[in-house]
Symmetry: C2
Subunit: 212 residues, 2 copies
């Protein structure tokens, strides 16, 4: 039998089990009894610490929404490098952050994108982050364009391109992996390929069109 007494932190155990359950099955699919079992506590404990299933879910969802937003900021918010290098690093960081939590994008899609009210919450977070990022990035893009080193591009557009490429790569991995590479090289190989491609695609996106 597992330790059943004196969880110095029952609350934490519940949260961790809940995170796994909700990420794997979504809100509707998750079962509170299953969470309790996985946490090694009685079913009633869930209602003692958090009143309802919804309350537990909100804790998890909030944390994950924060993480998704944060990943964009920490990936791209490093000024001081030359533009191509900054972009390359940003894309790779962003990709790696997502790859480290590969079930996160699917969770956000299923739980946020379909619920307008949750979209609103997420949107406010994103807005704050973009406000910090875009001005800066746009300036760099404009400067590079002025120097004739790059085509003029809208910063938000470019960022959406990056996020599209990265998120879809992670999201669709279970579907795509066997299509692209060897079956046993697997995950790492696939991720390496897609990461490189996403960098290459964005590099070219800002490339100055050669005059004839």
């Amino acid at each position: 039998m597992a330790e059943h007494t004196h969880h110095t932190n029952t609350e934490q155990a519940i949260l961790e089990a809940a995170e796994r359950e909700f990420l794997a099955k979504g809100f509707e699919g998750a079962r509170t009894t299953s969470i309790a079992r996985a946490a090694g506590v009685t079913h009633a404990m869930l209602h003692y610490y958090f009143r309802t299933k919804e309350k537990i879910f909100e804790r998890i969802l909030d944390e994950k929404m924060r993480l998704i937003g944060e990943s964009v900021l920490t990936a791209f918010g490093q000024p001081g490098l030359p533009l191509p290098e900054r972009l390359r690093q940003g894309i790779e960081n962003h990709f790696d952050l997502l790859a480290a939590q590969a079930d996160l994008p699917r969770f956000v899609v299923t739980e946020v994108f379909s619920h307008p009210e949750r979209c609103e919450v997420m949107r406010r977070r994103i807005r704050r982050i973009l406000d910090r990022l875009l001005v800066d990035l746009q300036r760099e893009l404009d400067e590079a364009a002025a120097r004739g080193e790059a085509d003029p591009v809208d910063a938000l557009t470019l960022l959406l391109d990056i996020i599209s490429l990265n998120v879809f790569s992670i999201l669709a991995y279970p579907l795509l992996a066997p299509l692209v590479g060897d079956p046993e090289g697997g995950r790492d190989r696939f991720f390496a390929m897609r990461k490189a491609e996403n960098v290459a695609a964005i590099r070219k996106r800002i490339l100055k069109i050669p005059e004839r």
Copy 2:
């Protein structure tokens, strides 16, 4: 009251209601009673025509998986055009097909990506479609590269780039729309912008790097 007798096609009514319910709420979230109510039939009729909730769901899911795969094929499977034009048309067709069924990508993500066995089914469909497409497309890409009109690119890689950009645009629309354009121009404006950007990005992806 609605017509309650002699539905010449009760089965169809159930399927249509089920499609709406499953697409909106997913398998776990969907309620058979809710489907019955929406179809205007008794709850027991669902079990008369289809034995279980699962059976109804499979019907819908199969149809939708087919549609997603088909959209790629019908969009890109039109040879005989010059490469850049063929790509532009392919991307736009694919985008439009998805936009016409905007809740489809989310449905596939929630219901397929998280279930390995469903992934396997979907993968076989995709494989068949790609086999028909890729050889042809790769040849065109190679020819263009040989003529010095384009950089050499792997066809599957390019196709994944396109699908990433298009799918994410549709998928994340509820989240992104207010971030990008005016609030009232809304959906059409957002879609038009993203579609144009995706074409532009892929165009540049195959662009030949200018020699200095």
